[in-house]
C-alpha cells in the first residue's frame, strides 16, 4: 500500500513537472519537432509548396553535387565561419579582459557593447553598413583624410564584400564577451597572488593562469559561435538585399537555401540542403568536442 502510494506520488510529481513546462513543450513540439520531421520528409521529395510533394528519393542530394551555386555558397560560408568566428572570439576576449580590470561605469559599458548583437540584423544597420563601405562611403572619406584617395567600393567588389559581413560579425561580439567576462571573474584570485609571490610577470600570469582557466568558457563560446557562423543568414540577407551580391560573393549557405525555398519554390531541394547543413555543423562540432580533451583545462582532472 505504502509502496503504491509512493509511486502515485512520484507520478503526480512528474505530471506536475510536465504540466508546468507544457507551454514550452507544446510550443517546441508544434514549432520545432514537427516542422523538423516534415523537412526531413520533404528533403526526399520534389515539392513546390503550391502542389503536393512527390517522393523522388535521393534526387535532391544528387542534384546538389552538380549545383555550382551550392558549392559557391559552401565556399562562402566556410570562409565566413573560419575567419569571423576566431576574430569575433579574439575581440570578445580582448574586450572582456579590459572590462575585467574593473571600470567604474562597467555595467553601462557592458550594455553598450551588447547593443550591436541586438541590432545587427536590422535594416538600419544594413543601410549604415552600405553607407560605411560604398564607393562614396564613410570609410573612403576617412581614408581620404589620411591622403588615400580612393573610389573603391568595398561592398560592391566581390573580393572585399564578404569582409564587410565579417566585420559586422566581429562587431556583434557582445554575447561572447559577457560569457568570457563571467569566466574571467571565476578565476580564483589566489592563483594570481601565488604567481605574484613567485615573481611571475603580467604576461606570464596571463599565459599560465588566465588562458588555461578560460579554456572551458572558450570551448563553449567556440561551439556556439561556430554554429552561429555556419547558419548566418540575416546579416547577409539585409546587407545584400537578399541577393548575395556582388557575384554571389556574399551568398552564404542559409541565404541560398532561402532563395531555393522562397524564390525558386524548390522546397524539397532546400529541405535537403538544410539537412546537409545539419550534417556539416554536426561534424564541425564533433571535431571541436573530439579535440577538446587536449586543449580544454578542467580542474577536476588536475587533481589526479
Amino acid at each position: 500500500m505504502k509502496h503504491i502510494n509512493r509511486r502515485t506520488r512520484t507520478l503526480m510529481d512528474d505530471a506536475a513537472g510536465y504540466a508546468f513546462i507544457s507551454p514550452w513543450l507544446l510550443g517546441f513540439i508544434a514549432f520545432s519537432i514537427i516542422p523538423i520531421l516534415f523537412s526531413l520528409y520533404y528533403s526526399f521529395t520534389d515539392y513546390d509548396i503550391l502542389g503536393e510533394p512527390v517522393f523522388n528519393g535521393l534526387e535532391n542530394f544528387r542534384r546538389m553535387a552538380g549545383d555550382q551555386l551550392f558549392w559557391q555558397s559552401l565556399k562562402v560560408t566556410f570562409f565566413y565561419a573560419f575567419v569571423s568566428v576566431p576574430l569575433r572570439l579574439l575581440f570578445a576576449f580582448f574586450v572582456a579582459m579590459l572590462f575585467n580590470r574593473g571600470t567604474r561605469a562597467i555595467r553601462f559599458y557592458q550594455a553598450v557593447y551588447y547593443v550591436p548583437s541586438l541590432v545587427g540584423g536590422s535594416i538600419a544597420v544594413a543601410v549604415m553598413w552600405r553607407r560605411l563601405f560604398m564607393a562614396d562611403g564613410a570609410l573612403n572619406a576617412v581614408l581620404a583624410k589620411f591622403g588615400i584617395i580612393t573610389e573603391y567600393s568595398w561592398i560592391g567588389n566581390p573580393d572585399t564584400a564578404i569582409w564587410t559581413l565579417i566585420i559586422l560579425a566581429v562587431w556583434q561580439f557582445g554575447s561572447s564577451m559577457l560569457i568570457f567576462l563571467a569566466g574571467l571573474r571565476q578565476i580564483p584570485k589566489e592563483l594570481y597572488e601565488a604567481a605574484s609571490i613567485d615573481g611571475a610577470g603580467a604576461f606570464r600570469k596571463f599565459l599560465n593562469i588566465t588562458v588555461p582557466q578560460i579554456t572551458p568558457v572558450l570551448f563553449f563560446n567556440l561551439v556556439m559561435q561556430l554554429i552561429n557562423g555556419f547558419t548566418v543568414f540575416t546579416q547577409a540577407f539585409v546587407v545584400s538585399g537578399g541577393s548575395g551580391d556582388p557575384l554571389n560573393s556574399t551568398l552564404v549557405y542559409a541565404l541560398y537555401l532561402y532563395q531555393r525555398a522562397f524564390k525558386f519554390y524548390n522546397m524539397g531541394y532546400s529541405s535537403a540542403m538544410a539537412w546537409v547543413l545539419v550534417l556539416i555543423i554536426g561534424v564541425m562540432t564533433g571535431i571541436v568536442f573530439k579535440t577538446s580533451s587536449s586543449w580544454v583545462f578542467y580542474e577536476a582532472k588536475e587533481g589526479k
Binding site: 504540466a19 507544457s22 513546390d48 567600393s153 537578399g242 551580391d245 557575384l247
Partner: protein, 425 residues
C-alpha cells in the same frame, strides 16, 4: 499546497492549446467577414485600408480583415498559406505567378460572379482583361495598367545641349550617342540597364525581333544577337567611362541612395508605376520615355502589363463578399478618387476618364505615358513559366559577370543561352 500547484500546472496546460490553435478556427461564411491581402508600400497600405473602411461603411453587413506586407515577404506568406489551406478571400496577385497558381488549382474562376452580376465588367475594354485569363477562364482582374519605361533628367540633356528625343522613334544608337555626349559634356554617367532584373531590359529587345524570352519549353528565341547587343551597348559605355561602375550600380540601395537620385546618372530604367517613388527620391523634374528601338525592329517591344490583380483563391471561405469588394474597388468612382491610381492606371473607361482630369502633375505624366505606350505596344507574352525564378537569378548573375568583366561578352551570352534552356526545359 501540492494540489494547488497541480491545478495551476493543469491550467497552464489548458491555456496552451487555446493559444496555439485559436487561429484556424474558421468563421462562418454567413457572418460576412472576409480577409483581404496585398503587398504594398505605406501609401498603398493607407489608401487600401481607407477603401476597406469606405466599403464597410457602405455595406455594414460585411467586415474586412486586412493583411499587408512588402513584396518579398508577401509571397513567402501567401505560399505558406496556400500550403496550409488558409488563404484569404481576396488576394493581390501578380502576372508572373498567375500561371503557376492556376495550374495548381489555387485560384477560383471569376466568371460565375460576373454572370451573377456581382462583378461588373461592362465598362472595361477586353484587352485589359486578357492578362488575367488562362484557358478561357478569368482568374484575376487587373487593378491598373503598367508599362516598362525609362525616366530621364531633362535638365542634364539641356545642359549638354541635346534636344529631347522623340521616344516613339528613337533607337539604341541614338541612346548610346546621347549617353556618350552627355558624359563628355557634363560628366554625368549612365546607369547599367535594369540592375534588379536585367531580363526586363533584354526582353524588350528580343520582343522587337518578333520572338519572346520564354518559349513553351526552354527559351523562346534562338538568335542571341538582341541579347548580345543589350550587353554590348553597356560594355561600350563602360569602356568609354560613361557607364556607372558595376561595383557601385549593383549595391542594393533605397531609391534615395541610388545613383540616379544623386544625379550621377541621367537615366533610370523603371516600371511606370514606380515613377511616383522615383520622382520623390530624385526631387527634380523628370520625363518618361519608351525604351529605344532596335535596328530593323519587326515588332513592338513595349507591352501593357496588368500591374497587379485581385484574385479569389479557390479555398476562399467568403468568395461572394470578396467579389463584392472587388467590384467596388474596381468601378466605384468615389473610392478611385481616393486611390488616385496608385496601383496603376485604372482599367474601366469611365473611371480612367474621370481620373485623368483629377490626378496631380506626376500622375498625369504616368497617364500620358500609358496612352503613348498603348499606341506603341504589342501583345503581352504569356505569364512566366515554372523555373523563371531560377532563370532570373542566373541572368542577373551572368549580367554581373559580364559587366564586372569576369567573363567575355560572347561567353556570357552563350552561358545565358545554354543555362536558360537547361533551367526552363
Amino acid at each position: 499546497m501540492k494540489r494547488n500547484l497541480l491545478i495551476i500546472a493543469l491550467a497552464c496546460l489548458l491555456l496552451v492549446p487555446g493559444f496555439v490553435f485559436a487561429q484556424p478556427a474558421a468563421e462562418e461564411s454567413a457572418s460576412g467577414t472576409m480577409r483581404l491581402a496585398w503587398w504594398g508600400n505605406p501609401t498603398r497600405d493607407e489608401r487600401t485600408l481607407k477603401a476597406a473602411d469606405m466599403f464597410m461603411a457602405k455595406y455594414p453587413e460585411i467586415k474586412i480583415e486586412t493583411e499587408t506586407t512588402g513584396w518579398g515577404g508577401y509571397w513567402d506568406k501567401m505560399n505558406t498559406q496556400a500550403a496550409a489551406g488558409s488563404l484569404p478571400d481576396l488576394m493581390q496577385h501578380d502576372y508572373a505567378y498567375m500561371l503557376q497558381w492556376v495550374s495548381r488549382n489555387q485560384l477560383a474562376d471569376l466568371t460565375p460572379y460576373i454572370q451573377k452580376g456581382i462583378i461588373d465588367l461592362s465598362k472595361i475594354n477586353d484587352s485589359f482583361l486578357s492578362g488575367g485569363r488562362v484557358n478561357g477562364k478569368l482568374y484575376g482582374i487587373s487593378l491598373g495598367t503598367n508599362a516598362v519605361c525609362l525616366t530621364y533628367d531633362p535638365a542634364v540633356l539641356a545642359k549638354a545641349g541635346i534636344p529631347e528625343p522623340d521616344s516613339a522613334t528613337w533607337t539604341w544608337e541614338d541612346f548610346e550617342r546621347i549617353a556618350l555626349e552627355i558624359y563628355r559634356k557634363t560628366g554625368v554617367q549612365t546607369i547599367p540597364f535594369f540592375t534588379t532584373d536585367p531580363k526586363v531590359g533584354f526582353d524588350n529587345m528580343i520582343r522587337q525581333t518578333g520572338a519572346a524570352t520564354f518559349g513553351k519549353t526552354g527559351l523562346g528565341f534562338t538568335d542571341p544577337s538582341a541579347l548580345r547587343e543589350f550587353y554590348a551597348i553597356q560594355l561600350r559605355l563602360l569602356d568609354a567611362g560613361a557607364l556607372i561602375r558595376p561595383e557601385v550600380a549593383f549595391v542594393t540601395v533605397t531609391p534615395e541612395e541610388g545613383e540616379f537620385a544623386k544625379g550621377r546618372s541621367w537615366v533610370e530604367f523603371i516600371w511606370s508605376n514606380q515613377f511616383v517613388s522615383t520622382q520623390a527620391a530624385a526631387k527634380r523634374p523628370l520625363k518618361l520615355a519608351l525604351l529605344p528601338n532596335i535596328k530593323n525592329a519587326k515588332a513592338k517591344g513595349t507591352f501593357l502589363k496588368p500591374s497587379m490583380f485581385f484574385s479569389i483563391p479557390a479555398s476562399a471561405e467568403n468568395p461572394e463578399a470578396a467579389a463584392k469588394f472587388l467590384n467596388y474597388f474596381l468601378n466605384d468612382i468615389t473610392v478611385n478618387d481616393m486611390l488616385m491610381g496608385e496601383r496603376g492606371v485604372p482599367i474601366p473607361d469611365d473611371v480612367r476618364d474621370h481620373m485623368s482630369t483629377k490626378v496631380d502633375a506626376i500622375n498625369k505624366q504616368i497617364f500620358d505615358y500609358i496612352s503613348l505606350a498603348s499606341k506603341n505596344a504589342g501583345p503581352i507574352d504569356p505569364p512566366d513559366p515554372a523555373g523563371s525564378g531560377e532563370f532570373l537569378k542566373m541572368v542577373r548573375d551572368v549580367t554581373q559577370e559580364i559587366l564586372y568583366k569576369r567573363i567575355s561578352l560572347d561567353n556570357g551570352v552563350s552561358k545565358i543561352m545554354t543555362q536558360g534552356n537547361q533551367i526552363l526545359k
